[in-house]
């Protein structure tokens, strides 16, 4: 399973490097969304609002949706699906591989958007640095859940509009845990409750993915 996972992750990242969708489309989108949210807050609030953490995770949620869709689209074309099916890869391995690749991409974008929120929204640098571990765990949970929901909503051929409807209720607790631990980190020390929520969510989605990804995959 692990070997397949690494193989699939390597493939996804290589496709990303070659097609540069992340670098030239998703990253700019992330930063632009942050700028827009700053504008939305209005001039006097943008600089010193306590909404920094909330906006960060809202932007990361939108970025995650784009990436989940992208992660499924590359598998989507019928020629690809048929030929990959004849490789008979272990579905759990495929799930872990794709989730891992998605997590790495989300981490990269997350760091960039985090830096953006420190620069643009003046959220405290030290606090944001302290919040980084919790950000990484939440983004990993988003990647695991996202890969699962990507397959659920049609795996690349289904309508892209289905993904948000299905995934938002599941992303809600991750958003809450993320925002709370980030803003607590700004005031010094996150409460352990948020670590419980994010770690449990991560483990749960990885477990469900390993168990049930195969059910979703073979059409």
């Amino acid at each position: 399973m692990i070997r397949t996972a690494l193989l699939v992750a390597g493939k996804d990242l290589r496709i990303e490097r070659r097609s540069r969708v992340l670098l030239w489309q998703v990253l700019p989108f992330g930063v632009m969304a942050l700028v827009l949210s700053g504008l939305a807050l209005g001039p006097n609030h943008a600089g010193n609002s306590s909404a920094g953490p909330g906006l960060f995770y809202l932007v990361m949620l939108l970025v995650a949706l784009l990436m989940i869709n992208r992660s499924q689209v590359i598998e989507g074309s019928s020629g690809t699906r048929t030929s990959i099916a004849t490789l008979g890869l272990d579905p759990a391995g495929v799930f872990l591989g794709k989730a891992l690749a998605l997590a790495l991409e989300l981490w990269l974008t997350g760091v960039v958007v985090l830096a953006g929120s420190v620069l643009l929204l003046h959220t405290a640098l030290v606090g944001s640095a302290e919040a980084l571990p919790s950000v990484l765990v939440i983004l990993a949970a988003l990647a695991a859940a996202g890969t699962l929901y990507g397959a659920l909503s049609g795996g690349g051929q289904g309508p892209a509009t289905l993904l948000p409807v299905l995934s938002f209720p599941a992303f809600a607790p991750l958003l809450i845990a993320g925002e709370r631990s980030y803003s607590d980190a700004l005031h010094g020390g996150a409460l352990w409750q948020w670590w419980v929520i994010s770690l449990v969510a991560l483990v749960v989605y990885l477990a469900i993915g390993i168990l049930l990804y195969g059910v979703l995959e073979d059409s």
Binding site: G158, P169, L191, V200, I208
Partner: protein
């Protein structure tokens, strides 16, 4: 014989019990010292919430997991799961509505970010997501598999949602922590009416589930008939 009897009696018994609950709830039981007649919602809201969160959602999740398990996989399980989820969507919406009606006079607002209200709302979005997923797939087998997986994910999210919303709502930086004593003292006739309402609404759920299930059976029968027709027509293609 018992099966037919219970089948035929389910509807009437449910109606009688519901009527009894409303009669007791509205006239016989006394008003509350603080809330006056508003407390009569006590005989509706908890019962609907109980059915929505545990009975209907539970039925759907159990049926879905049975569907996923190879040995108990059958069309019946898929139908029960989808019908139960549809009914639970209705009950979840009713829970929110009756909850807001009750909350309005006490909180002064229709919607307060109360922990229970918010996690019920998240569950309602899950149920609607489930129905959207079922509409998005028209291949019966694929649809059944995907909605079963989604129901399992929704079930496991219930505790996650509950606690994340609960802590989000009540947590402060360095809040004092002690267990809440949720003793539920209801007096005399109010208590009996409450239990009656729980029972009556649970029966209502099964009655609605059965009605919806029968509709689904007919729909599947029509679908199967269209399949046979398509099969026959396809075979004729090969003959000329």
């Amino acid at each position: 014989m018992i099966k037919q009897l219970s089948q035929r009696l389910l509807g009437p018994v449910t109606l009688v019990l519901l009527a009894l609950t409303f009669w007791l709830g509205l006239w016989v039981t006394p008003p509350d010292r603080v809330q006056g007649n508003l407390v009569r919602l006590l005989y509706v809201h908890p019962a609907i919430a109980w059915v929505a969160l545990y009975v209907s959602f539970g039925t759907s999740v159990i049926a879905s997991s049975l569907y996923l398990w190879r040995r108990t996989r059958s069309v019946v399980m898929d139908r029960v799961a989808s019908c139960a989820m549809e009914v639970s969507a209705v009950f979840l919406a009713l829970t929110l509505i009756t909850g807001s009606i009750w909350g309005r006079p006490t909180w002064g607002v229709w919607w307060a970010w109360d922990a229970r209200l918010t996690s019920t709302a998240i569950l309602l979005v899950f149920a609607l997501g489930y129905l959207a997923l079922r509409r998005a797939n028209d291949d019966p087998e694929l649809r059944a598999r995907r909605s079963a997986v989604f129901a399992i994910i929704a079930a496991i999210n219930v505790p996650i949602d509950h606690f994340s919303v609960d802590w989000w709502h009540t947590l402060h930086q360095g809040a004092t922590v002690f267990t809440e004593n949720g003793n539920f003292l209801v007096h005399g006739s109010m208590l009996w009416t409450l239990f009656l309402s729980l029972f009556a609404f649970t029966l209502l759920f099964f009655w609605l589930l059965r009605a919806r299930y029968r509709l689904e059976v007919q729909r599947d029968a029509r679908y199967a008939a269209s399949l046979d027709e398509a099969l026959a027509q396809r075979r004729r293609e090969g003959v000329h």
